[in-house]
Structure formats: C-alpha cells, structure tokens
C-alpha cells in the first residue's frame, strides 16, 4: 500500500529534524511548533524537505504559519501543489 502524504511528511520531519521519535508518533493535528519544538531553523529544513520529497516549490507567498502549523495543514498544502 502506497504511503499517504501524511506518512511521507512524518518520515521526512523525523529524518530532517533528527527527532528521536517514531514517525507514527507524530499526531497530525498537533502543533509542530508548540508540541514538537519546531523552530525557525527546523522550519527552513522542512521547507527544503517538502520541495525535495514532493517535487514542489514553496513560493514566497506560501510562507504562512497556517501552511506549516500541523502535519494535516502541511498535507493539505502539499496536495494542492502536487502535479
């Protein structure tokens, strides 16, 4: 079964941010910033990771917390831009 966008995001987040938890422990509706300690450096890593993992470009107008707040928000953002 193909991995969902959410699963791929969680794996990418854990890998790129060197998090010491299993990807499936990340709750999709919880704030990445408040619950998982994502800071500005980590967010930049996530932006790069999203572009590499999904082959999309994060444009200047996309730099909004609403797009990066949770795994669910990120998944919506990615789906809208995936070819």
């Amino acid at each position: 079964m193909a991995a969902t966008v959410e699963d791929r995001l969680k794996t990418m987040i854990v890998e790129r941010l060197f998090m010491k938890i299993e990807p499936d422990r990340i709750e999709e509706s919880k704030s990445l910033i408040d619950e998982y300690g994502v800071d500005s450096v980590s967010l930049l890593e996530l932006v790069v990771g999203i572009e590499e993992e999904f082959g999309i470009e994060v444009g200047d107008e996309d730099f909004s917390v609403a797009n990066f707040e949770t795994v669910s928000a990120l998944a919506d953002f990615v789906r809208k831009r995936m070819p």
Partner: protein, 270 residues
C-alpha cells in the same frame, strides 16, 4: 600545542587570526575559511574544535576573520567577495611565512568553501576541503532570504519579504538588511556572480566535497561540482555526513565525525 592570537594584513585593515601550532614538526599548513553572515557565528565552535583536532594531528592551523567580520577591522558593508578572497590570500601568505616548506590545505565551510576554492590557485594550495559548500551564489542569496522569511513567518504569522522585490532593490543600488547584516548592491552583485566550478577551470590537485544533511545521500549538485573539478584534472572526492546544519543552529552539534574524516582525507597520499 600552542594557540596564539595574531594580527595580519595592513595596519588599518588588519585581520584577526588564531594560530594553532603543534608541539612537534608540522606535517602541513591548514587555513580555515569560515562562513559569513549568521552562519559564521553558529559555526564558530565547530571550527575551533576542528582547528584543535588538526593541530593534534600535527598541522599548523590558522583561523581568521574576514574584514568587516568578527574581531577584524572594518565594517561589514565596506567589503565584498573580492576583498574576502584577498583576505584568504593574505592569511595564506601569513601561514606560508610561518611554515615555508609546508604543503597548504584550505578548508572552507558554506560561503567560505566558495572563497577557498576560488582562492586556491592564487594561494598555491594543494588541497581544498569544502564542507557543505555554497558554490552557487544566486542560490545562496535565495536561501539566506528564505531564512529571513521563515523568521518573519514565525514572528508575524506570514512572511512579508518577497525575494524578487529584494533582488530588484539591490539591483537598483539600494542596500538591504539580511538578518542584521547590511547587504550592499556591490556585495549582492559579487555574490550573484559566484558560480559553481566548470569543466576546464584551474583547480587544486585534490578536493574533498563534503555534504552535510539529514541523510547520507549525495545531492546531485555536489556530484556535478565534483565531476567538473575532476574534468579539470583535480582528484575530487565526495563524502556525505548525517549531521544537522550546524552552521544554522543555536545549540551544539557534534561535528567530530566530519572533522576526523576530513583530517584522514587530508593525510592520504601525502
């Protein structure tokens, strides 16, 4: 092992350096080219530890600050890429005077990698080790602005900066604030003119291109740069390390594996 603060260059525009001298006869001289902007501050400890590890391995090592940076003379906005390349040459000449017969290696991190690679010929450096090199100036500028945008997003919910507007301003001669550093139109143009190595360009005898990232997969741009160097007669090696971007972090990152691998590479076939 001795460490000494040194002042090199001209009286009014001196460079501050830290010289690391081994107790026994040095096997080579190593010049460390630091990154610029905020990356310089975050990388400071890693580069100090690397210099000390090199010195323990019997290398004569010099770290230094470019003009307008750290403890060196001048204001940041008075200088640009050609000035900092001149600083690399100045620092290399200082090392040559301290160890006239020693082979010279340049090690550069991020933008320091571009300065090291571009200065290697003029410094007669045999080897160059590049850590996460920022060899594409335009991409580097976009990345630096992206960092500024992420900070705006974290603070205000939405980034206000638009990169193309910034570049238009810079091209029109205005200066911009990049994370607290004034970027002049001149610096912008000089950074934008930094391009990756091309086939047939003069290159050092040996180069190590080290990728630092969340996994040990080599990015395609790094392998392309290594291929271009190899096409110019350079023995170009690549290596990947699973390490966080320590030049961006506030906290500490253990860069010992990167340092140890680099030293082993520097000592191969010498």
């Amino acid at each position: 092992m001795r460490e000494e603060s040194v002042r090199l260059g001209h009286a009014n525009e001196w460079l501050h350096g830290s010289l690391h001298e081994p107790d026994e006869a040095a096997r080579g001289a190593a010049l460390i080219c630091a990154p610029l902007f905020e990356e310089r501050k975050s990388a400071q400890r890693a580069l100090v530890e690397f210099a000390r590890a090199l010195c323990r391995a019997h290398w004569l090592v010099l770290r230094f600050d470019y003009r307008g940076c750290g403890d060196s003379a001048g204001d940041f906005d008075a200088y640009s890429v050609p000035d900092w390349q001149e600083d690399v040459r100045e620092a290399a000449a200082f090392l040559r005077a301290r160890g006239p017969d020693l082979p010279l290696a340049l090690i550069g991190l991020r933008l320091g990698g571009a300065l090291a690679l571009r200065s290697a010929g003029a410094c007669a450096a045999e080897t160059v080790a590049l850590w996460a090199p920022a060899l594409d100036g335009r991409r580097y500028l976009r990345d630096v602005l992206r960092r500024k945008m992420v900070k705006e997003m974290m603070g205000q919910g939405q980034a206000r900066t638009r990169r193309n507007d910034c570049f238009e301003d810079l091209e029109a001669g205005r200066r911009l604030d990049f994370d607290g550093y004034a970027v002049t139109s001149r610096l912008y143009r000089d950074l934008a003119a930094l391009v990756p190595p091309a086939n047939g360009e003069p290159s050092p005898r040996r180069a190590l291109l080290a990728h630092v990232g969340p996994n040990e997969r080599l990015p395609t741009d790094l392998t392309a740069w290594a291929a271009a160097l190899a096409a110019s007669g350079c023995r170009a090696d690549t290596v990947a390390f699973r390490l966080p971007p320590f030049w961006s972090l506030i906290g500490y990152a253990d860069t010992a594996p990167l340092a140890e691998r680099t030293i082993r590479w520097m000592e191969e076939e010498r």
